[in-house]
Symmetry: none
DNA sequence: TCAGTTCATGCGCATTCTGGTGGTCGAAGA
DNA sequence: TCTTCGACCACCAGAATGCGCATGAACTGA
């Protein structure tokens, strides 16, 4: 984990840096707005501690520049206690958190930990199988980057297969997970949907295991048995 | 966006609630820890304002119970100025933010806005989707730069959809976040509002995903039928 | 009254289901 | 090894279902 500290007060900067390093982080330092902006723009940080009152370039400006350039790393801003409007400005500029001076260093540490933990939670929930990508959060799927148009049952089927990649999934298992309770087991709906899915994502991905069910696997990893 | 306020001071609670409602949020109130815990456990909130000093059940305890039950909504805690150890305890219990009493209500509002948009993964106070811009700070929206005239429910709908851009949002989810507690789920109100919104912002932006719900996306990213 | 919201109705059509037909696979016997 | 047979599976196309939308009337609170 790499952290940037932008703070013009040399003592405070060192104090923060030392504490963070002690906690196991890698830390870069900047002592004015311009330097801070340059570093934050070019290097990949997991979090930034940014003082609002800075020489050369104001903290809020730095933050705005980062955000409008698409930088999304979590930023913790430091403000003076009596400048509560600074906080509001900072937050609206895209700060993820703030601490008012004077502060306890442990508190900053706790908040940085929280920020990093939270940022990790935003990792997109995607499952990939060969050319197929499933975005479980957005209920979307793509093949070779092209968005697929799937009906809700088709999507549920694909989703279940991809969540159990490499495993053989029986028809009854699929039925039970795609439908609520009572469903006429003597129908070939599953086969129909498998057929439709194959038509959309390509035939190679869903393998049928005769007598048992279906298995989804990236092509190339297909079971190469009895090829002799 | 639906918010829970847990605060035993009746005046403060009402003050917060009024301000939030004015800003367009749906607000539920609780006046002690037990009631707060019960509501937060059962209803889906987009954010919670939680006082630490509460009768019946301590704020930190409430928060811990929620977190260990898997509730992940952003929580803003209110602490007394001189009790900085409370803050650390609250943060360690899983609070996303804190404000010390006494505070400016605007500050709480700004932080709630920040929490909600951050939970949705947005860095700035403005969310853009194609020609539509949502200004979470001013509770306004524009299409191609022209201000939209939206009723409060229309705005809430648009806001929720834009905060969850790219994701499929179900009808029940929308109902739960646009209304407080009791609402007849068996009606087509949501569909009516979606229809009205589409009329105002254009048909292309809100895609309906049959059987699942609605998804807001910039045009051009719309799903294209895969060639069979 | 009027703007905003909710409810009820009917239509159009995407989606899903069904039954039938023909194809494929694999085991067993010659 | 080749053939045969039964079980299993893929595909098709028509039928049925029920979802989503538009519309307008009823309702409600400023």
């Amino acid at each position: 984990m790499r952290i940037l500290v932008v703070e013009d007060d040399v003592n405070l900067n060192r104090q923060l840096t030392d504490t963070l390093k002690e906690a196991g982080y890698v830390v870069d330092q900047a002592f004015d707005g311009e330097e801070g902006h340059y570093l934050g723009d070019g290097e990949p940080y997991d979090a930034v501690i940014l003082d609002i009152g800075l020489p050369e370039m104001d903290g809020v400006t730095v933050l705005e520049k980062w955000r409008s350039a698409g930088k999304a790393m979590p930023v913790l801003i430091l403000t003076a206690r009596d400048r509560w409007s600074d906080k509001v400005a900072g937050i609206d500029a895209g700060a993820d958190d703030y601490v008012t001076k004077p502060f306890h260093v442990e508190e900053v540490l706790a908040r940085i930990r929280a920020l990093i933990r939270r940022a990790a939670g935003h990792a997109t929930s995607e499952i990939v199988c060969g050319p197929v990508r499933l975005d479980t959060k957005g209920s979307k799927a793509t093949v070779d980057g092209v968005a697929l148009k799937l009906t809700s049952h088709e999507f549920r089927l694909l989703s279940y297969l991809m969540h159990h990649m490499g495993q053989v999934v029986s028809r009854t298992e699929l039925v039970e997970h795609m439908y609520d309770q009572d469903f006429d087991r003597d129908s070939n709906t599953i086969e129909v949907f498998v057929g439709r899915l194959r038509k959309k994502i390509g035939n190679d991905l869903i393998e049928t295991v005769r007598g048992l069910g279906y298995r989804m696997q990236p092509p190339g990893m297909a079971s190469k048995e009895a090829k002799s």
